[in-house]
Each structure stands twice: as C-alpha cells, then as structure tokens.
C-alpha cells in the first residue's frame, strides 16, 4: 500500500497507466462473470471493488498525479469503476433471481393434500328449506308467525271449522295430551301449523299477511314415506277483496321463486273444512316441465311422468273460520295454503327415504351446508 502522493512531483504512477486500468477492469469483469453464487460474487466484489481492490488503490493514486494528468487518469479510473459496478449489479441481480427461483422451487408443496382438520358443520336441510320458502313471502311483505307445538284443541280444530266428530280429531291421527286423572286436557300436538293462522287473525287487525312454518305431529309410524313429526309451511292472507285468482298468483310466484321463471301451478277441486272453495295444488314438474307425459322415451322419475307434482292443499279461508277468529267475513276475504317441507325436500333434492331426514345422520345433512 502506498500513501497518497502529496509532493506533486511529476512522477509516473505505474498503476494509472491506461493498460493497467483496463486490465484491472477486465479482471474484475471476469471475476464477476465467473462468480457462480452470491457468496462467490461477494468475494469478487470485495476483491475488485473493496477498499483494498486494485481499482480503489489506483483511485487513491490519482491525487499524486500532477494536476494536468489528474483529469485524464480520473476519467479513466471512473469509467473503469463504473463498468465494474454495473457488471457487479447485473451479476448480483442475475444470481439473486436464480436464487429466488430456486427457493420458490424448493418451497413448493403438494397443493393436492387434503384438509379436513375441522370438518364443516351444517344446518339441517329441512330448516333451511323452510327458511327459503318463508323468505319468498317475507320479501313480498309477509310476516313469519309462530306458535306453540302443544296447542289448544280449539285452535287446532274448532276455530278451523273442524267439527268435534271430524275424523281428523280421532286418535288415529292426532296426539292428545293427557289431562291428569284421565281427563281430557283440551291440548293436542298440533296436526298442522293452521292454529298459528287462527292466532294470527286473533292477534292482528286485518289486513293479515303471514306465513307459518313449523313442526307438526300426526300419529303415523315412521317409514320411507311417513313420519310422525314433520314440518309444514302455511300461508294466510286476509284483506278486502282477495280472490282465488290472487291465491293462484301467489302460488305461481312461489314456485317461480323456488324452481324457475317458467314454473306454474295447477288447482284441482278438493275438500278441506277450513277453506271453501278448496283446492289441491300441483306444480309443473320442474325437471321435465311436462315433457314426459305420454312420452315413454323420456320417462321422468321426479313426477312419475305425470307432468305435475302434488304440492299441498289450499283455498279461500272458510268464512266460518274468519268468524271464529274475529274477522268480519262480510268485509274481508282471504286465502290460505300449506304444504309439507319434507315432501318438497324429497322431490327437490331426490331424497328417497323419509328416514334420512329424521335420523340426524351427519352424512346426509353435511352436504347441504348453510343454505339451500
């Protein structure tokens, strides 16, 4: 190492000769190019750009040159150092890119690994189906009404024009609650959600627009198509001037909301004590749209090639029911309908056995997730 030359003697400085500078530069460039790792490059960097590197030393020698030679030498050394630094940065970037690419390769995982650390939960499809149907009407302005499951006979039967001798009021169909000392308690497990309709009329001033989803009970043994505990949704609309055409329109709207815009319903006369006129309601088969009827080449499992799916009962609220529930039948009329959620779930999702819906097997419920 030599100290800076302060004497300004016009000495020839060997290190600042052009050919020397070029050599130093070329050696540096060669060293960088030869560096095959970031560590090697670092070593080359120290050797060729560090304070003890030939170019750095040469740079220091510039001060010893006579003033007329300084500019020349300074330019040469500066250009050489610039080229060296540029090459270093380029090589650095190259090697870093190589390293990064290598690390990303090394960090690769098998993204096909399964993951079931915490299995997902699910709501029961009967619950979500019931909510989905109810929400169709909530969006139209209806309220959801609820009531007790152990219900007064009056609400379940009498108020609905089901006379005391009606077959539905026998132990063949209805669970009766014991009254103690062998007495009649006047309480049953509701056989439909219609008592909620009666309660709604008594609780509110007309107009009344409610849907009544809920659990109901009938004395059927559990088998592939029956269950003693099942779910219904019923609708009740009471207003001035409501007609069967309004009932039909409301049903059409519902099946369109649930099954698609081209859906429609069909009414067939039937009998229920609580409605008059009464009807059985069918909806167009949402799978075949009726195309399977009389077409043996295209049989439809969903509707048994009938073209229609039986949905439930409906009708204009019997004025006797209005009277019992405190609604003036001279001023108001209304319509009502109801159907079973289990049945709808069965034909909407191809459930083949009622028992699947009541046994609580997680393998059945889990795929239905949070909404339906």
């Amino acid at each position: 190492m030599s100290a800076p030359n302060k004497s300004y003697d016009p000495v020839e400085v060997e290190a600042l000769k052009p050919e020397q500078i070029e050599r130093m530069r070329d050696e540096a460039l060669a060293a960088f190019a030869a560096a095959d790792s970031l560590d090697a490059l670092h070593e080359a960097k120290v050797a060729h750009t560090g304070p003890a590197s030939p170019l750095a030393l040469a740079n220091r020698e510039i001060g010893a040159l006579p003033p007329h030679a300084k500019a020349d030498a300074g330019k040469r050394v500066g250009m050489a150092r610039g080229a060296v630094n540029k090459a270093l940065a380029g090589r650095q970037a190259e090697l870093e890119a190589e390293r990064d690419a290598r690390v990303l390769v090394e960090e690769a995982v098998d993204v096909t690994l399964p993951y079931d650390r915490v299995p997902a939960g699910a709501r029961h499809p009967l619950t979500t189906m019931m909510e989905r149907v109810a929400d169709v009407f909530v969006s139209m302005g209806y309220e959801i009404a609820e009531g007790p499951e152990a219900e007064a006979e009056w609400f379940n039967f009498d108020a609905l024009n089901i006379a005391p001798n009606h077959p539905a009021r026998t132990m063949q169909d209805t669970f009766f609650v014991e009254g103690g000392k062998g007495e009649d308690s006047g309480v049953v497990l509701r056989t439909h959600t219609s008592p909620v309709q009666a309660r709604s009329m008594l609780d509110r001033e007309p107009p009344v627009y409610v849907v009544c989803p809920g659990r109901v009970y009938r004395t059927d043994e559990l088998d592939a198509t029956h269950t003693p505990v099942f779910h219904q949704i019923e609708l009740l609309a009471i207003d001035e001037g409501l007609t069967m055409a309004d009932l039909k329109g409301t049903l059409d709207h519902m099946v369109q909301s649930l099954f698609g815009a081209e859906m429609k319903t069909r009414l067939r006369p039937n009998y229920f004590p609580f409605t008059e006129p009464s009807a059985e309601m069918d909806m167009l088969c949402y799978v075949c749209k009726g195309a399977s009827v009389g077409n043996p080449d295209r049989p439809c499992r969903t509707c048994s090639s009938e073209g229609w799916i039986e949905l439930g009962g409906c009708g204009m609220v019997n004025p006797r029911v209005l009277t019992a529930c405190g609604v003036d039948p001279e001023k108001y009329s209304g319509f009502a309908f109801g159907f079973g959620i289990e049945r709808m779930l069965m034909f909407r999702h191809n459930v083949e056995d009622m028992r699947d819906m009541v046994e609580g097997d997680v393998r059945f419920t889990r795929p239905f997730g949070m909404e339906i």
Binding site: E146, A152, Y209, G249, K264, L267, C325
Partner: protein, 834 residues
C-alpha cells in the same frame, strides 16, 4: 268408489269413443279425485266360450287330484267334438256349465293358451277360474260354474263383460253423493253437458198402514224409515251374471241374491239398505238409542257392548242392528242354508254424526257407515226400497206386498241466499248471473231471484250450506284451470323479527363452528331420564304425557333436548362416524302444574280475551332450547400434525357461541348438575334485568350416563335456554373505540391454589388493572408440585395496556400490572411466580 265405465254409460250417453282416461280427465277437472283407471280384460283374446262338462276322469298318482275332462264347446273349436281338458279344480260336476278358453286365445297378463301336455295328457285349453280371467274374488276359490241357462259355445268375453274400464275415485268427505253411480253419473253428465237418466226416478206407491210396523223413537237420529216386504222368494235363485259382475267390478263380493241386490242398489243409488229375514224379526221394527248394558252380535260375528249414544234397530227382543253401520246376526238373511223366503227391506236415513260416532266407537267402518257419515240423499230412500223390491221380484220370483211403511220426520229443504255476483267475487272472475244460475241448476239447485239469489239445494247435497259452497260449485264447473293469476299487494313488511333473526343466527353460528344440525323426535320416556341420572325432584322429570303415544316406551314430550340429540350421536357413532359435533334447537315441554282444562269455546264469534287467555293457560310452558353434543376428535389428525379430541371446553365454548349471537357474555361457574360429570360441569349465567339468571349447563357427561346410554367415552354436551338469552340480550352493540397509540404488553405468571377458578383470578386482574387495561388473555396453565408446591397451579396471563390519548410509559404499564397482581393476590391468594 269404483265406477265401471260400462255401467256409467247406462245413465249418460257418452260418445262411444270416450275412453276411461278421457272421463277421468273430465271428472278430475270437475273435482272428483279419479285416482286410477283400471283396464279390465286388457290383452284378452278369445276364443273364450261357455262349455258343458261331459265326462270327468280322475287322474291319480300326482301330488294333488287332477281331473281329465271332456267338455262340449259347441262349434267354438271348429269341429263340434268334445274338447279334452286337464283341470286341477274340483268344484264342478258333469253337466255343469263352465268357461273354457281354447288354444290360440290369450288371457290377461299375456298368458297365451295352446294345447300342451300335462299330467300325462294333452290339455286342449283350460277351464277358467275368475282369477284367471281377472274378474276379482267370487268366493268360490275354484273355477266358474255358470247358471245352466247359458248355451254352450256362447262367447264368454261378452257374457262375463270381461272387457271394461273401472274408474277408482277417492271421494272427499263433502261429496257423499259420489259414493253412488247416480252421483258420479250426475257429475259426468254435467262435465259433458249431456242429459242424465236419473235411476232414482221411479214410481213409488204411496205409504199406507199395511206395511211392516216401524216405531222411530228418535226422529233426530232417524228422520226417515221406509220398510217394504217381499214374499215368496225362491231360496234357490242366484244372482245373474250381469249383477255379480257389476258388484265385482265395484269391488264387492257376491254373496247371495238378497244381499247382492241390496248392495247393488246401494251402489246404484247411494242408499244403504238392509234386508231382514222376516221370519227372524219379532214384532215391530224400532229405532232408538241403545240402553245401558245392551249387547249386539253384528254380522261380522263380533259381540259389542252398546253405548247409550248408539242408535240401534230393534225388534221385540232388543237390538237387531247398529243403525246405519251393520246389521245383527240375529236377523240375518240366511245365505248358507238358503231358507230365507220373505224379507223386510229397510231404507232409512240416519244422522251422519250419530253414525260416525258409532262407527268410530266400535271401530267398524262399513259401506253403509261410510255413506251415512258423508251424507245420503234422504229423498232417494223410497226409490231405493222400490228398486230393491223390483229386483227381488224380478230375480227371485218374489211378490211385493202391498204394504208400504214410511216414517218421515218433517224437514224443510235447505235454502241459501247469495248475491248473484258472489262466485265472481270469490274467484276474481266475472262469470255473470246467467252462468252462475245455470251452473247451480246443473247441480240440482232451484234458483230464484235476480241480484240476490234464493237457492234451494238438492236433497243429495247436504254439504251445501253456505254461500261459499255455492261459489265453489260454480268455480269448479267453470274450471279451476281457467282461474287467472293475480298478485295481491300486502302492506310493506318489516322482515323477520329480532327473535326470528336470532334463531337463524344461532343455527348459522353453530354450523359455522362445525356443528351439524339434527332434528330429533321430541318423544321420551322415564327410562331416558333415568339414564341421564336425574334426581327424583328434577324439574325435567315433570312431563307432558300423551294419551296415545306411538310407543309406550316413549309416552311423553321432551323436557330437555339431550336424550334425542344423544340418540342421534349414538346412531352416527354406530354407523361409523366417530368424530361428531351435533346441535339442535327446538321447543321443550315444561308443565307448570298450573295448567287448567279449558272450556269448549264457541266458533260463531270471536272468543273473549279472557277465554283466549284460558286456552293459553291450558298449555305447558314451551321454551326454546339449543343443545350441542360432541364426541371423538374436534380437530382431526393429519399431515399437518396431531388432532385434538373434543372436550368439556368445546361444549362450554359452544354455549358461549350461542350466547354471543345474543350479545350476551356468559358467567361460568363450576356446579354439579346431571347428566354432567360432577367435576367437569359448568353452570352458565347471564344478567337478566340486573339479576344473574341460569341459562344452561355445559361440560363433559357423567361417565355413568355415558355408560348407561352406550355413548362414546368422554361425550360432551351443552344445553341452554334461548328464551333466557333473549331476555338477557344487550340490544344494539356499541362500536368499540379504536385507540391508535402503541400497546404496552406485560406478562404475569400467578400461582394459586388448584381449586381457585381461573375466572376469579381474571376478574381480579381486570378490576385491579383499571382503565388502561385493553385485554387479558390466559396463555398457559401449569401444574408442577416440585416447582409450585402440592395443590398449586400457575396461571400465565398476557396483559395488554393502552391509553386513548398518549403512549404509555413503562412505569405506567408496570404500575397497572402491579395493581392487577395485587388485587388478584388479595382476592385469590395469587402470588407472582418468581
């Protein structure tokens, strides 16, 4: 009601091309539920002829006795030679007329007939049973033996009316008149716009005093009683083929001529009839309510204790029939010995409610009771009696006695006043007065008036009582399918109530936490409560019991969701799903003991507030609960590392999750409560109106319960009452203030007695730390007797401090921490771990 199309055509001139399916479609549209159309004789192809048995040779040496017969089939076989036929039946003799199917024919079901070798002989055809011809049961269990008058060689397909279509109609309770050919024919005629030949339009002699004496003591129960007598019946006379065939197609079994005739007329006119053997009726026929202690053996051979509500037919001896339900054995027509030569025919009209009650009381539903329950045309009674008499005279050579007994309680025809535009208003369609009047007349009403119609309903339609009933008639005949589709406009709604939203949120929150919803039956028995280990005095043992449970083992309603949910858990476990987290929300039934039996309220007006309150007071309390059960792994083991079994803490956390939806923070305390493990049971409390109130329990189940219920080991559960959480709810959440100054964190490890609840230590830390405390988090619990001493544990907490308005100094944070530790020390004996 089964309706043969050939029979229906007798009353309505349907176009010859109309098929059963065509008629079905028309009737369905008119409101008759035609469930099926049976195709009788489908695929049947002759020759099928009348034959006469000439010789019978018994073939022996086979498993059963076989007959080799020769049968005269006239020219039907082309040769006139006797036909050789092997037959396994034995209910015929030489000379009998039988039905023979010849080679080349095909029987229903694609059964082709050819000459074939059997039992060592060649059988050239078959002697047929009614079964083989698809005719239905005839009671003989053998081959058909025809009356002798039919000539050999006659086409039996025509003779036996084997080709027909039968409509099977499920008749709704309001359409009793359609339990007759007459009623279905009326609907058919209307549907096709064709005239009806009413079979009830018969000439009937006027009543007189010479008929069989009848005394009606209960004119409300029996408002009409017609009695006619036919004598000189030939006991040998048999029902003709046309009659038995119609009965068979209608689903009834031919029995004897007199019984067949009464059944036939019932099918034709809808009027149930009864024929008594006059020689077995002693004295006048009476109608009254049964007396205490009376008994009657009905035709089905069952001896019944009669109730004083039962309406009975009597003679001098006492009851001889359950009115409108079933006759008694003691006056039965003798159809086995064939000795009956004189019959008294009863055509009466009984109160539908009375018949329904009696039929139900005796669990005895008959063709007669089904009709009376739904309403029989009282005006058709005398015509039905006449028709019966006519047929008995015609078919059994009897003589109608001149006496005609007819007892009628006076009644006015039912009229309804209805605005002419009422059907329009119900339907939302403008039919117009003319259409309304025409339709009402079609169903048999007399209609008067212009804007206000005075409608007299026909005697066969007791179901028509109100204006809306008439509206339905008009609308159904105009076609439900022609109703337009319009939408009413309800007032703007408010969406779900807060309570309804919360119920949904609870379900979503639990499902989001990995629980799967089950909807279990709410039935249980004492055994389930015993398995849960509930004390004798436990309120969950106070049950709502059912009079008629499906299972005597489970006669009551649930007071807790756990038995049902644990049952579902066990079922899943048994089916190979072992890592389980289930939930259910639903009502439980908790009698208060204060339930009152309510009065029967009126239905002709709105009940009073007090009356309605009395109804509600009859009901048990029905709070809504939520419950979870867990077993197996909560987190699965896998390539990511170890799994984690579900435990008591998961159950408590589930309860917190539920409470969180209500904005309620639960206070957790160790308590002992069945069915939980005494050392792993948390009682959960919330503040309701400032009072700490029990919400539910959570933890691990008692090992005894696990064993008794055959549950997976360490099964955990939680159950909370949602209605309490609702009352504890905090309303709207106040948004937290977010301070932006840096946090100061201080960790402390406190050593306390093992029995000290962590919740107490944390509460003391919170209180002691004061306002600067942002959060406390317990991050470690450590027990080591050597380091901490026997019965001690270390609780390590991370305390985070922050001020809203400045950066805290180390001294401030330390001071707050020291205050927290000091209060924990004085409250719980906690000491800083050195």
């Amino acid at each position: 009601m089964r309706v043969p199309l050939s029979w229906l055509r007798e009353y309505v001139d349907l176009p010859a091309t109309e098929t059963g399916r065509d008629v079905q479609a028309k009737l369905i549209s008119a409101g008759l539920e035609v469930e099926t159309v049976e195709q009788h004789g489908d695929g049947l192809k002759g020759p099928l002829v009348v034959g006469q048995v000439l010789t019978v040779e018994e073939l022996e040496g086979f498993k059963k006795l076989i007959r080799f017969c020769t049968v005269d089939v006239g020219q039907a076989n082309g040769t006139g030679e006797p036909q050789e036929i092997v037959c396994g039946a034995r209910n015929f003799s030489v000379g009998d007329k039988v039905v023979v199917v010849l080679p080349g024919a095909e029987l229903p079901g694609g059964f082709a007939i050819s000459a074939r070798k059997t039992y060592g002989k060649v059988s050239h055809g078959m002697i047929c049973s009614s079964d083989e011809l698809g005719m239905g049961e005839d009671g003989t269990h053998g081959i058909i033996v025809l009356p002798p008058e039919h000539e050999v060689g006659t086409d039996a397909i025509e003779l036996l009316q084997l080709v027909d279509e039968v409509l099977d109609i499920a008749v709704t309770p309001d359409r009793g008149y359609c339990l007759s050919m007459r009623g279905v024919a009326r609907e058919t005629a209307i549907a096709y716009g064709l005239p009806l030949r009413d079979p009830a339009l018969l000439d009937v002699p006027a009543p007189n005093a010479f008929g069989h004496p009848v005394k009606v003591a209960d004119p409300f129960g029996c408002d009409r009683f017609t009695a006619r007598t036919v004598t000189g019946l030939d006991p040998e006379a048999r029902s003709p083929i046309w009659l038995t065939r119609r009965l068979q197609k209608a689903g009834m079994r031919p029995i004897s001529l007199a019984v067949d005739v009464t059944n036939y007329v019932m099918l034709e006119l809808g009027q149930p009839l009864h024929a008594y053997d006059r020689s077995r009726v002693q004295g006048a026929i009476g109608v009254r309510r049964a007396e205490q202690g009376e008994r009657l053996t009905t035709l089905d051979g069952v001896t019944r204790e009669l109730s004083t509500d039962d309406l009975v037919i009597t003679d001098d001896r006492g009851p001889i029939g359950l009115a409108g339900v079933m006759g008694g054995a003691n006056s039965e027509i003798d159809d086995t010995e064939g000795t009956t030569t004189e019959v008294v025919v009863e055509a009466a009209h009984f109160d539908s409610v009375s018949v329904a009650r009696t039929a139900r009381r005796h669990k005895l539903s008959s063709e007669a009771s089904r009709r009376f329950e739904r309403g029989v045309d009282p005006e058709a009674a005398s015509a039905a009696a006449q028709r019966t008499v006519d047929l008995l005279v015609l078919l059994a050579g009897g003589t109608a006695e001149a006496g005609v007994t007819e007892i009628i309680a006076p009644s006015a025809p039912h009229t309804i006043t209805v605005p002419a535009d009422h059907p329009d208003k119900v339907a939302g369609v403008t039919y117009g007065r003319e259409t309304v009047v025409r339709r009402l007349q079609q169903i048999g009403c007399d209609v008067y008036g212009q804007d206000e119609l005075l409608v007299t309903v026909p005697s066969w339609r007791p179901d028509l009582t109100d204006p809306n009933d008439l509206a339905e008639e008009v609308i159904r005949l105009e076609g439900y399918e022609n109703l337009p589709s319009t939408l009413p406009r309800p007032l703007p709604g408010h969406g779900l109530t807060e309570r309804q939203r919360l119920h949904r949120r609870v379900g979503r929150a639990l499902a989001g936490a990995g629980y799967v919803e089950a909807l279990t039956y709410p039935f249980l028995g004492e055994a389930a409560l015993d398995q849960l280990g509930l004390d004798a005095g436990d309120p969950r043992r106070t049950l709502v019991t059912l009079v008629n449970p499906l299972s005597d083992e489970e006669p009551a309603l649930r007071t807790t969701l756990l038995p049902g949910l644990l049952g579902a858990l066990r079922r899943n476990d048994g089916r190979g799903s072992h890592d389980l987290a289930l939930f259910e929300t639903g009502l439980v039934f908790r009698p208060t003991g204060e339930e009152r039996i309510p009065e029967r309220l009126p239905v002709d007006r709105r009940p009073s507030k007090a009356d309605l309150a009395a109804l509600d007071a009859a009901l048990p309390r029905q709070p809504r609960h939520a419950a979870v059960v867990l077993a197996g792994a909560r987190e699965q083991a896998g390539w990511w590392g170890k799994g984690r079994p579900s435990d008591w803490a998961d159950a408590i956390q589930a309860a917190r999750t539920v409470a969180g939806e209500y904005g309620v923070e639960l206070t957790v305390r160790a308590e002992q409560h069945a069915p939980w493990h005494p050392g792993r049971c948390a009682a959960l409390y919330a503040l309701v109106d400032g009072t700490e109130t029990l919400v539910g329990h959570a933890g691990e189940l008692h090992p005894r319960v696990v064993k008794a219920m055959h549950l997976p080991e360490r099964t955990c559960a939680a159950e909370v009452e949602l209605d309490v959480l609702e009352r504890a709810g905090q309303g709207m959440l106040a948004a937290p203030r977010i301070a932006t100054f840096p946090v100061a964190t201080q960790d402390v490890a406190l050593v306390v007695d093992r029995a000290v609840p962590a919740a107490d230590v944390e509460a003391a830390l919170r209180e002691g730390a004061g306002e600067l405390l942002e959060s406390v988090r317990l991050f470690d619990v450590y027990e080591n007797a050597e380091q901490l001493g026997e019965g001690r544990k270390s609780l390590a907490y991370a305390l985070r401090f922050r001020a809203e308005d400045r950066t805290l100094t180390v001294d401030e944070a330390s001071a707050a921490r020291d205050a927290a530790v000091a209060l924990a020390g004085s409250r719980t004996g906690a000491v800083l771990r050195g």
